[in-house]
Symmetry: D2
Subunit: 372 residues, 4 copies
């Protein structure tokens, strides 16, 4: 039997939304199991979280360092860590784990600042260990199908990309637990909305098109009175081949839930995908035909087909998409190729995007280069 | 720490669709783990399945009897079994497990025939152990919200129910592995489409309305040439309070995937829910207002809210609905109440429905009573 | 210049919904103009209606007889009449018009009773004048496209038809002006919901499939307390080739507006059309492909393409569909063929359907033949 | 009887899409009738068009001047003209008509250039005659409902507007008759896509919000090789109160038909409307409730309710929206108020928008003021 890989979580303590998501996603395909965690810097909170996760109480640690040390001493110690804490913890956590020779899966954005990202990049390259970044939406089967079709030329020459990420939960000043750190520069970093969701949209656009954005024209604002970080972003995009794009991300659009949507047009066809109805992909051809693809349907290519667990019509969603990233990561840990898993380069791209967008927007700089 | 409950699976071997679904669903909330299985009556196949599930090879048994005996001898033996094999195996499997004092979760329909169901019912009552039936769709948060709203009087007096279950995958004679046993009377039992999906629709109608169907007028047919069991069913319904209904289930509707939909009308309001877009529930009031509820949104009652794992806009689907049934079952195993989990009475209702529908349709009997 | 045909209206006076609809539809393509009317048997009301319609006050008559006499005496007299009055007026109005040699367009259902319909049929055949029945929904371009595709074999052998007509406006007892005559047997005839909307659904099913229903199993009820005529109908259908069907029509489904929908399945493909989103037609093939056709798009056949007035994406609706029937009727008046316009035979079919459904339902007769 | 107003058309000859649309829209409510036209500068073409429109052959003129002279001499001469010719004809046509004391309804954009627009504005003010501009989409009942709700404070303080106009018909170089003049600067003027559809989107945003855009950041491009005028536009918007917005208009988005959509967010609520499904309006409140309004439904205010002709569920569309503008214009001609009809000021706004956007985009000017 191939044994399950052992995961240690950093962050994800009481009140965390993303911690349990990482746990479910990692374990969904039974290639991985959560066995340990430094869920909180407060020992009692970490213990409480460990109980919720139903792991061995002895393996709920009060610090990452304690976890790394104790797990290294066990025969059945962790195989990797997942970083599920706020952005400013990503770098120190990854630094410690990589120093201990432990592979890392981290939540996005890569770090709180671009400077940290550069350091992270050096560390990762030096360590030579598997390293993944959970740009969740790239795990959806139909997103991968879209990427494959674009790569195969279905759209022709790329002309236009419109990617939107619509949320409304930060439309009010009083936002509750999840919102708190996201609107605090000390913990979230330079970007608010742009770092929380804009970076997902940016990654999705480059992931599906396989093309690189090399210029942007950002316009960010903090709309809700009293807010310091941006909560509404419009960014014009120019791709390497000259294709045009627009990225709209907002957290003040009342009534919107998690409306990540992308439309991509070439000279031969266009495609449309939306995260809230993730199991269909529309293709429109310039001869007037339209085609609807369904997750689990017989028309998907091998990679995207392998990323569904149920037949068409049995909706899979956010957790299953997230699990697909962990399946890729598991493959990498076992020494297999999993080229679609976002890695350090994708993480860096995102940080460059956030940093450039925030600074250029503040400076009113107009169009600026997006450095590689 | 509360330990995870240990599950043994019966059936779910190579090629099974529903076996892995049971495994994922059972484990999703980390209250249960799959540790053993009699996945196939072929020893090699059972071993192969055990490897796929990544369980201890020693616990992949070649027969249910072997599993029960070996597990009983272990300190960490199974806490319950899940029956994921074709319908004609349900009774013998449950009989053996219950005889060994092991609680049972079984796939639907309860058994292959009504006679078997009666025996099953006696066994379950005599055993006094937790017993669940996986009518999956009753696990969806918005289905539970619908039920709660109906119970609270939101629709007023029940007048009309239309429940449909549209599939197209059996529109052709050559149907592949999953189809094979479903169209074979020896393994599927008396009902084809009516037993495979009609019974889901029937349960959903009674589950949400909380009302009982007491007369039916069934019209079943085997449409695809050469098929013995029904593949297209229309059943008129009369509820105890006189409300009218129609149940349409078909597996020959080309292009339909898994289109379970229900519309319920009272004198005050109507509601609409569809399985393929499970995260919204529409309510229409007789003053012209319409309301859309979202899974994960703030307007859900406590039970349905507790059955989502992510905020609104992060789609949960079939596997998460299924997991909600296992969470109920886990609660029962721990001695807590979980009244929404379908049990032996619901299983019996379904078998009475199938049996009555098939026989009355063959006899051209018109309206017939549906016995309790 | 080809002159516009001159229309005289019967009924359609103050408070009428359908009178203005006939006027707009008839005139939309400028082949016809409303010039006269016997809008009401009350002279003042007829005059008032004439003013609303902005016709010459001298041509707003207090009776059909007066209109026929006066118009016959004019050089620019009416070319045809449209009957827009309640059902029990259809026969006497048509009788008088045909007796005067005037062609007739009548609203549906053909008459109030089947007996009247037989007389109407004899009169029409004897008169040898153009005669149309406004089954509105057969005027939609994509309904005609659907018919053409079925006729061309796109679906293969017909297997299954589900046609629904969902309304909610009669869910309450107090229903206002439009409802009044529709629930009164003396004016509406034998059928309530079945005659008002069920007959539309029935016609649509035969119109698109080109197949004839030869057996029905009706189940009609008056759900709202105190109502005499049916307001909720379920009718099982058997087509001549053995294909199965269900017709669901209801006026008590709170929240539904005008939900006429049809799904048709053959062994090769299925199609879906819905009146509330009339400008798209879905086709699903048994190889897994789905196709969306758009009104005004380049993929329509010549007949349906000629029935749109704007390019794709510029929604046309109910009035334009209705106008397509008048365009057909205008063609017939000019001596051209317009085989898709429903005529006396379609009117008779509808009456046979209503009469058979009402009587068989009352008698609890089960399956009954539907006479030609 | 109130007589019908008499309309003379300028342009709208053979091959015109918009000419017949103006005719149908003007006549739909029977307050207006087309009686004359200078449909083409080619006499034979004008005659042929007159025949298609079924007007008196004597009143199909070869020039506007001929029409004005001849109609002035008739007792039953035209009451107003509609200008349905390409943009560069708007000014000379309006100049001649106004000089003759004839009111004018003109298609949009107001003129081909901003300079012409200034002259038009002076002429209109000097003439003191009714003058309308057919920004069609402001005629939709639910657009008017949206405007009324915003004005009543339903959204709270305006924060964000996203308006899109998606088309794909110019994605290819070879575009056919309708496309020809639109891509020719000599006939279309300065703007391509921005003038053809961008200006509709701009008007819609200001019409519904009742707020003025006072700064824009335009980014226009000619994407299809060889094209001179823009075919893809992104324009960032800043409203007078600081609210942010984005306007996306494109004619190269393969598969899109006529996708005008608008989303508007305040601090209390958001609203969503889309032209291709024009009969519903979504409202989302910051307490989590969502509401769907239907055209023809009982929840509309008096103005929007009066602009529907059929009950809910009977789709009205583009032609009916257009007709609502003519109903307003008819009211103005009769001396009544019709404040929602776009007039010269709205026409000027549109031209200022086009001119500013094109020039600032070419100059790479970044944010620029939009003059009143």
């Amino acid at each position: 039997m191939m044994r399950r890989l052992r995961m240690g979580m950093i962050g994800g303590g009481p009140g965390s939304f993303i911690g349990p998501v990482h746990r479910i996603a990692a374990e969904l395909d039974r290639e991985i199991e959560l066995v340990a965690g430094a869920f909180s810097s407060d020992a009692a909170n970490s213990r409480a979280a460990g109980e919720c996760y139903r792991i061995d109480p002895a393996r709920a640690y009060a610090s990452l360092e304690a976890m790394l040390a104790a797990e290294a001493a066990r025969e059945d110690g962790i195989d990797f860590v997942t970083i599920a804490s706020p952005n400013h913890h990503h770098l120190p956590a990854a630094r410690a784990a990589l120093a201990a020779g432990i592979p890392v899966m981290t939540d996005k954005p890569l770090t709180a600042t671009l400077e940290e990202a550069h350091e992270m990049s050096c560390l990762v390259k030096a360590a030579g260990k598997p390293f993944g970044v959970t740009y969740t939406y790239s795990g959806y089967p139909l997103v991968r199908e879209a990427r494959a079709r674009v790569a195969a030329g279905a759209l022709g020459t790329l002309r236009k990309v419109v990617v939107e990420y619509r949320q409304g939960w930060l439309a009010r000043a009083a936002e509750g637990k999840q919102a708190e750190w996201r609107v605090d520069p000390a913990r979230a970093g330079l970007g608010g909305c742009i770092g929380d969701i804009g970076v997902h949209a940016f990654h999705l656009a480059e992931f599906i098109t396989g093309a690189r954005v090399n210029e942007i024209m950002p316009d960010l604002a903090a709309v809700v009175p009293g807010r310091v970080l941006d909560d509404d972003c419009t960014v014009l995009l120019r791709f390497a081949n000259g294709a045009r794009g627009a990225l709209l991300a907002s957290q003040i659009e009342v009534g919107e839930l998690n409306g990540l949507r992308i439309r991509i047009y070439g000279d031969k066809a266009g495609l449309v995908w939306a995260q809230e109805t993730p199991n269909t992909l529309e293709l429109h051809y310039n001869d007037g035909r339209s085609e609807i693809l369904h997750a689990g349907g017989g028309q998907l290519g091998p990679d995207s087909a392998s990323r569904t667990r149920t037949p068409g019509g049995h909706p899979e969603g956010y957790l299953e998409a997230f699990a697909n990233l962990y399946r890729d990561f598991s493959a990498q840990l076992r020494g297999e190729a999993a080229p679609l898993l976002p890695g350090i380069a994708d993480g860096m791209r995102g940080m460059a995007f956030i940093d450039t967008a925030v600074k250029a927007s503040r400076a009113g700089a107009g169009w600026v280069k997006l450095e590689d």
